[in-house]
């Protein structure tokens, strides 16, 4: 038992030593592949940041969603209250506010910002319910539901006029998700390819180690660790750069577009952690797989 622990300790030590000598022996390659991974990670990072902010803006826009329900003049206050309760039953509905016809009139013209110096003889406007709903995506549902209720004269919603815009946003969103996904996959492949290239370039050394009698784990572990280290350093560099870039964009955004608040730079730490862990995993898997490939190919040559 004691001996095995000694062996374990020695093995760990040698593997770390090997890792160090691998890197210093192939410094050029290590640097170039680290740089490549940094770049791929920057691409991923830019996308993830964009995606997070896109989601946020989307959510903001959605929060403006209100449905205006114009009521028949025939309804009594009691009936109106009942109607409000019914509307509130819909799961997407967050809040319902009653707006009397006087205010509606004022609002319509104020809302249009036309200075109306003249007085009207009587108010042509109906009473109004302002219904807040949780997401713009389900708006048609809600409208459908409400329009079937008794006493509803007409329904108006902001989105209606911007159905085209809404569709554009939806389409953009889907296209954006698709592109993000594709780019993510591409970058992951780029990273694992880069590590593959560095391992391919060391075929000769690996073969020699096999022939001297190094166990598979003894050969593999330092190289897998190297792949992980390269992609970790690569992604740390990427995170650093992304952070710098993002802080710039953030500052500049808060100056020019006050209404549009981006995620604060400090709020991105989760993203950074995800990137880091992701790159470590990719590095490990990439190098492990290509090593398995290399070792198996050499095995095949052995005729076994």
């Amino acid at each position: 038992m004691d001996l095995n622990l000694d062996k374990l300790r020695a093995g760990t030590y040698y593997i770390l030593k090997e890792l160090k000598s691998n890197i210093s022996g192939n410094l050029g390659m290590a640097l170039i592949s680290t740089l490549t991974i940094t770049l791929a990670m920057i691409i991923i990072g830019l996308f993830m940041i964009s995606y997070a902010n896109f989601k946020r803006i989307e959510a903001k826009l959605s929060s403006y969603v209100k449905v205006h329900v114009y009521l028949s003049d025939k309804l009594s206050q009691e009936e109106i209250d009942k109607l409000i309760d019914k509307i509130k039953e819909h799961p997407e509905v967050i809040d319902v506010t009653f707006i009397p016809k006087d205010k509606v009139f004022k609002r319509v013209f104020e809302g249009l910002d036309i200075k109306l110096k003249r007085k009207l003889v009587y108010n042509p406007m109906p009473n109004l319910l302002e219904v807040s709903i949780s997401s713009s995506e389900r708006i048609e549902d809600v409208v459908n539901y409400i329009s079937k209720l008794k006493g509803v004269e007409d329904i108006e919603y902001w989105q209606k006029y911007f159905k085209a815009l809404r569709k554009i946003i939806d389409a953009l969103k889907k296209a954006f998700s698709l592109v993000t996904f594709l780019i993510l996959v591409a970058s992951v492949f780029i990273i694992s390819n880069t590590i593959r290239l560095t391992i391919l370039a060391r075929h000769r050394e690996i073969r020699i180690m096999q022939l001297i009698g190094a166990a598979h784990w003894f050969i593999k572990t330092p190289l897998v660790l190297e792949g992980m280290l390269i992609s970790t350093v690569g992604s740390l560099l990427a995170i650093l750069l992304l952070n710098l870039i993002y802080i710039r964009i953030y500052k500049w955004f808060s100056n020019t577009a006050t209404l549009l608040s981006l995620l604060s730079p400090s709020g991105l730490y989760k993203l950074w952690i995800t990137l880091l862990l992701g790159s470590v995993v990719i590095g490990a898997i990439g190098s492990y797989l290509s090593l398995e490939n290399s070792l198996r190919e050499l095995e095949r040559k052995e005729g076994t």
């Binding site: 050394e205 020699i208 001297i212």
Partner: protein, 223 residues
């Protein structure tokens, strides 16, 4: 029982060249064997077979009564550690210094670092490379590289030493010194199989000599 037993072994390279033909052979524990034959006769191929770098196309090779073709892939490294090899093309690790090249052969067995540090200098001094311990292989002369490969091969006190043309780049004096080293570890129990073109060495040391020609064993004698 013999340590090493070839039973009608043939080997055909993937490109179709038959390098070993129907070879049967027994080598006992502790023997010293010269392997001779013209260039391309199949000496290196024979050593590769013992080292399980390749497996026979026909026939079987027993090492310590185990058919080495049946050793599973994961166990091959452990088998190979019993065998020290001086490769004809040396196969030194270019990114490691002379010291590290020898140390690596010990490290793979997870020998504690202290013992490695204690043993490597002795090995390097043995082959006269102690002053060059921090040189990388491509900073060594041809003969120095060869001696480094020898130091590495004997580092683990192997059961068998396969030396493929270990004196090809050495002058006669150095070659004799290397022979002394081989004879010494042979005396301590290691079986040595050494391929060589240097017939003077063969004549001088008078050991069992196996001669190959075009893949056939054509002579096996003790002078």
């Amino acid at each position: 029982m013999a340590l090493l037993e070839f039973n009608e072994v043939s080997y055909i390279y993937p490109n179709g060249l038959k390098a070993i033909s129907n070879l049967s052979l027994k080598i006992d524990r502790g023997e010293f064997v010269f392997l001779i034959g013209h260039t391309g006769a199949g000496k290196t191929t024979l050593l590769k077979l013992i080292h399980r770098e390749i497996v026979p196309t026909e026939g079987t090779i027993f090492f310590d009564n185990v058919d080495i073709s049946t050793i599973p892939w994961s166990q091959v490294p452990y088998y190979r550690r019993k065998i020290g090899v001086v490769f004809q093309d040396l196969k030194l690790l270019n990114y490691k210094t002379a010291f590290e090249n020898v140390a690596y052969a010990l490290e793979i067995t997870c020998l504690p670092p202290k013992k490695v540090i204690w043993r490597v200098p002795r090995l390097l001094k043995n082959v006269g490379l102690w002053e060059k311990r921090n040189f990388f292989p491509d900073e060594l002369s041809g003969g120095e590289q060869q001696r480094l490969a020898i130091a590495r091969a004997i580092a683990n006190d192997p059961l068998v030493l396969l030396a493929d043309e270990p004196t090809g780049n050495l002058d006669w004096d150095t070659a004799e010194k290397i022979m002394e080293i081989f004879l010494e570890i042979n005396r301590r129990g290691t079986t040595v199989i050494m391929s060589t073109h240097n017939l003077e060495l063969v004549r001088k040391y008078k050991k069992r000599t196996i001669k190959l020609s075009r893949g056939y064993l054509i002579d096996d004698y003790i002078p």
